[in-house]
Symmetry: D2
Subunit: 336 residues, 4 copies
């Protein structure tokens, strides 16, 4: 009794998910859809599934669940369509770049009693999970301070920037989700600084490439997020959690675990510098847990609410930069 | 035009190889054989291949290559049978515990013009490969000294010891192969010390559980191998190569890349402590390279000769311990 | 022609400086003063110098320079007294807890053409200096982001808190100075979060024990400072500077460079957990450089202006917390 | 009541010891002797002591103890002279390059009831001590295997080689002493390999520049020592002790605790590459402990017997290389 999947969007991330489904016990890939027939055909050929249209998939009683890996501006509509069609939905973050649209989408999900998982892959990284588990086990006492460092290897092209929603909604959103997960308590205030240091083109588009954010919770916990769109040394992804009894850190991953020593010193290889390589295990784990939740009737590992909250923190950060002040999350979230 | 494989032996390692073949492009698993019908059936079910007898596989024109993962004392006979049947053969180390039997087997392989790869998995570990590549690229100059540390998490049970051929032929044999690979020159002398420190039962069986070996080459290069059958902290697998211009080391792998700090200090998780977990990538890579060599007509990545030489070094080490002297490899290898 | 020194204040830090002077070539300890005769006598006995009153030292033509290690509220007066007396002055940070008092004191120093070094010891730590040197050598390109982590091993007693000026003026002040030094550009805005997580008594005194601060410069550089009054794992003192071409980090110091591995993992000793042990070399270096500057007529390595600016950042941080907004440094600094 | 010291030999190491004595409580430097008047005068000027001849020092009732830092071939004679004169003696290793001469010298020491400490500085290194203390505290269970890596930054000049006694007596001797200290049990067998890989001139002088040694004890413990006269990456000084319950390692020291990351990877500075810099603390500690032993009447921290045994292991290693066999230590030590 395996879960029958369709993958919507046969791009880079869709291919990754398709391969995971093919390898995960309890899941079966039955269909793929993509606006580009060649892309869909390639996935179908690699995994022996059918190419179908999105509407056919929605109507197909043989499909239990879909993975949405299409462009961001289609996410909310597709979530609604497939939840209404009675399919379980795994959607890549974000649900939408508009907080209002996310809210209305989640209302549909709730009204339909739908199952929706939002793909915050980092929570499923084995090292971050080990750090989180250590916290849950009480190894560091009460969580007081979280430090998240997240730097991309290089800035994306201008055309990506224009559709991205800006650094906070596109990049920091992952860190906002990590912050909530690691703090274990809802964030109440946001303050941020942002500047353009990497690429002036990004500034011309009204976005930033370098940012620091401070979050606080009602109990006084604090979290700092440090972002840059460029790190020559690779994809810099670290977390550090300081508690009343100790701290836990998760370190970066390198191309190889070797060290070369010579007269200039000791040298280790650069960090993995592509998010798909860095988070290979995380991508596999998130789908495996989605499948497991569907098979066991368990709760979604990450929810639409998680998607909503991370976006709210992004909007609050943007407002903080604009107005030079601490922003209450409730200001952007409203009373919804 | 993929290579059609049969797996002989559906035990732990056979299952690993079967999964790899299922995942590697250019390879296809068509049959499995095992003395235990249930074991063979499980592999067949998992990967959708047939259960057959060894003789049927040898006679099957639809099989291009076999992977031998049966007990050691069957290896040489199976290699001969399948080489004579015109199949390419991947055989787990060792070819045999007797140097004479290995030689006669390799003569058959040569006479038949057969293709034989011996499974020295460590050469295919990504970190060791990165270290080897650095050497090949001249990053450390001329190789002068190699240090190999290899410690098992725990001693095997007595029944394993009795069939193992002893620590040098069973455990150090991997390190002998690594030494030859890293030195880049044939070993000419062997001296060794061995003792029983871990488990007196091992001593009663005439074997050792702790050993150090020094190897030298004609040009004066040296290699030290350190072995123990027990390491409470996990599967300790390190190499260090010192050259005229620098050194390169490959480090251990841990359960997670986290560090917990508390009032007692900074703590990282133990090493991976199971060889199949530690060498997951190596097992996959060795089969992928075997497939690639078959598809391209390239040379076998590791050969029967490699198997012969590693066993010769093991025999030399044993003789060195017995006689308390430096042993010339030619003494044990003979003029063959 | 060595510089003749008097040490004012024979407490913990005065003793350290006295020992340094005794060991540094080109310097000579000739007198010590302390309100507690026994304390002064101990230093005099250890180093063979005279015990004198502060006024006698000021009047003593045989004294070239003084080191002020007395309580904070005496610093500004003593600086003025000794600058007027024509002595070079090394004063422990801070000059004063009041920005206005610091300004008036520095006006006296300037009017007198006096020499004043303020003891920001961290700039003289060998590891931080190596990091700074790497930046100066262009190893990381243009500095974009600075991250400073500074956590005390444990919170000070309430009586210390009441006299300290609060966490920003007492603890973060060191980090503010490091930030200015590492950014290489003046800070223009400050925003901060602060809370009480370690000890409620600190909160009752109107102070905080946990804080994060974001600084920015006119060119858009950013710096994050993370502080806590407690770290079970020792005195946590790290810097990380991210630039356009790379990054440089300086790591903590541990009690010993050993690692113990056992079935629970790999363990290193805690961090050094006392500031005098952690910064032993820094304390010696700052005095040696002061002596060197006096002997060569060079510029003071750290100045009264540095003391003023660090305090201004502290005041700005406090204001930011109070008003929940970004504070311009000029707001607190005025037009002076 | 401080111990009054004279330093014999005002060279590099004599100057280090003179400075230590000047700084250690309970010790006083009263005289220095050297064949080169200028060298002695420099030490006398730096520390305010007298220049005297060796014989005058021996006859001086105001001298309690001497530090012998003269050329090796004078050590044994000076030890005898000063022990007979009733002085406590600290002598740099080795006592002599001839095992017979060492024995006869130690007989004189014993007959006179003299106090003799031999300067095996490494036992006093803080990191090695921390490792040793961990062993003593039972942190790794029973010691089974010791691995000592010791590589010089560069080969000494030919004129040093000719007087050195060869690599085993000059360089490995430190490691032999460390092995005895860490094993906690006397070594019974020695086997070694040695070659010339660094500098052919060393070979022409009948010496080696690269060596590996295996030591065993009666209980079956093993130790491996790896030596090279060249390491481009600095002075490589590591120990690793594997026990029944775990392991402990002591790591190298670098020029600074920084790491630079760039597109080529992560880079740390080279190792400290001068023995006096690397072992600064060890040199100070060994003299402080000698002083303490004299002041308290305690046992010598390292003894003439330690010097004898380390030399015996060196002679055994040389014999092993010459004869290609395991050598019993008793063969070279005789029944004395």
């Amino acid at each position: 009794m395996s879960v029958k999947f369709a993958v919507l969007g046969a791009g880079r991330i869709g291919q990754v998910h398709a391969s995971t489904i093919a390898a995960v016990p309890g899941a079966e890939l039955v269909a793929v859809a993509d606006a580009m027939p060649a892309a869909a055909a390639a996935v179908a050929a690699a995994h022996g599934c059918d190419v179908k249209t999105i509407d056919d998939i929605a109507a197909d009683a043989g499909v239990d669940a879909v993975i949405i890996g299409t462009p961001t501006d289609t996410h909310a509509d597709l979530i609604e369509q497939f939840v209404r069609a009675g399919k379980a939905v795994f959607c890549e973050k974000p649900v939408d770049l508009s907080l209002e649209r996310v809210k209305s989408c989640l209302e549909v999900v709730q009204a339909e009693g739908g199952k929706l998982m939002v793909g915050f892959n980092r929570r499923f990284d084995p090292d971050f999970r080990a750090a989180h588990a250590a916290i849950q086990q009480g190894r560091i006492g009460k969580v007081e301070m979280v430090t998240i460092t997240s730097r991309d290897p290089g800035a994306p092209p201008p055309e990506y920037i224009t559709r991205s929603g800006g650094i906070f909604r596109d990049m920091t959103i992952h860190d906002f989700d990590m912050a909530r997960w690691l703090l274990g308590e809802e964030v109440t205030t946001v303050q941020a600084a942002a500047s353009v240091l990497v690429d002036p083109e990004i500034g011309k588009l009204g976005d930033y490439d370098s940012a620091n954010v401070i979050l606080t919770t009602a109990s006084g916990q604090q979290c700092v997020i440090t972002n840059s769109r460029r790190a020559t040394y690779g994809y810099d992804q670290r977390i550090e959690v300081h508690g009343s009894e100790g701290s836990v850190t998760a370190e970066n991953q390198r191309e190889a675990r070797i060290e070369i020593a010579d007269e200039k010193g000791a040298h280790r290889p650069p960090l993995l510098n592509f998010f798909m390589t860095r988070y290979t295990a995380a991508y596999a784990n998130e789908i495996a847990e989605f499948v497991d939740a569907l098979n066991t009737g368990g709760a979604m590992p990450t929810t639409g609410h998680d998607g909503l909250m991370a976006l709210a923190l992004a909007d609050a950060a943007l407002l903080s930069v604009a107005e030079g002040r601490v922003v209450q999350v409730l200001e952007v979230l409203g009373d919804g």
